[in-house]
Symmetry: C2
Subunit: 207 residues, 2 copies
């Protein structure tokens, strides 16, 4: 067993050099995966191709990930550095803060360099519900919870009716944005995001 | 060329028998496709399998459809008999009518016998935007337009503010429903649909 094959979480018996090499190999694999999906698309992505681009052996990849979809998923998570520590701005004005959030979501979804990667994972979760659960738990839920927490502050400050379920409010905001992106029903831009926000907030105001 | 290979829209030179045979073959192919996707899943669906199940030659399928995805898509359209002639109930009460519509959508999306078929097409449109365009144009748009038309009647009867963009209102209603289904963020049921409707309608009421 070579050092490169020791896995992303090396045991304590490995020295610092082996651990660094292992981290480097892992990063190279994830970057190669993102680059290849952007270049050739997910359907033509192969473990062989990732290994060649990353400069590692195929077995290194098979040892750390159970499938092409699993590598893809970690490559996406790795690209989202905010994972696990999401916090929204709090300018004191709920509409301003949510506008920033929704426009940021629109920008991320419509970024051409991420398009194939993001759509590949959406396609994948339609048939693999364990990947879906992980996507929700590790990537989406932290963002939704941060949004819900910001809305809860809005309830306290009297900008949102106290009867509002903050989790529902989050889906009212994100739902139409993802709907347009996922089903390709129309152009997804800031104007659309602002209009969604305006109508949803009207429905949430104190009665 | 045999009669069975003449295509779903036979030319006038074919007699009524050939036309009937052609229609029967087409229907058998679409039913076989739906059954096979429900049984084995889209990824294991093959043109050979469809041909065998439908009792037609493989070449018949290749002559009428350019890909597995194209057959799948027609199989889904064929299962939606309301295509092209969608009309919403009009009881006079907008909330009642929209509740029926949203609950119907929830029922259709969560129907176990349709789950694999519907998710297969969602996965497919992530990489094939021509199929996406067709899905929107032939299946989703007629439903969205019917919903928008019902909301427009609500504007006239004073139940919805006259400033409301009816197309936006449709995406506010359907967005969270599809969001929950597509991203598997939580349980999709009537309670969720009713809550979405309540908040969205509050945001649309005359000010």
């Amino acid at each position: 067993m070579t050092h490169e094959d020791s896995g992303p979480s090396p045991s304590v018996s490995l020295g610092p050099d082996a651990s660094r090499r292992s981290d480097r190999a892992r990063r190279a694999i994830l970057v190669a995966t993102r680059d290849l999906v952007a270049d050739v698309g997910y359907s033509r992505l192969t473990i062989e191709g990732i290994a060649a681009t990353a400069g590692v052996g195929k077995q290194t990849i098979y040892r750390w990930w159970r499938s092409k979809a699993a590598v893809l998923f970690d490559a996406i998570l790795d690209a989202h550095s905010h994972e696990g520590s999401v916090a929204l701005p709090n300018t004191g004005d709920l509409e301003t803060d949510l506008r920033l959030l929704l426009r940021g979501t629109v920008a991320a979804l419509t970024d051409p360099s991420n398009d194939r990667l993001q759509r590949a994972i959406i396609a994948e979760i339609q048939t693999d519900s364990s990947i879906a659960d992980e996507l929700v738990r590790r990537l989406l839920r932290p963002q939704f919870d941060a949004c819900a927490a910001r809305i809860a502050v809005g309830v306290q400050s009297g900008q949102v009716d106290e009867s509002v379920d903050t989790d529902l409010a989050v889906e009212l905001l994100f739902g139409p944005i993802f709907h347009r992106w996922l089903l390709r029903t129309g152009e997804l831009n800031d104007v659309f995001a602002d209009n969604v926000l305006d109508k949803v907030l009207t429905g949430l105001r104190p009665r």
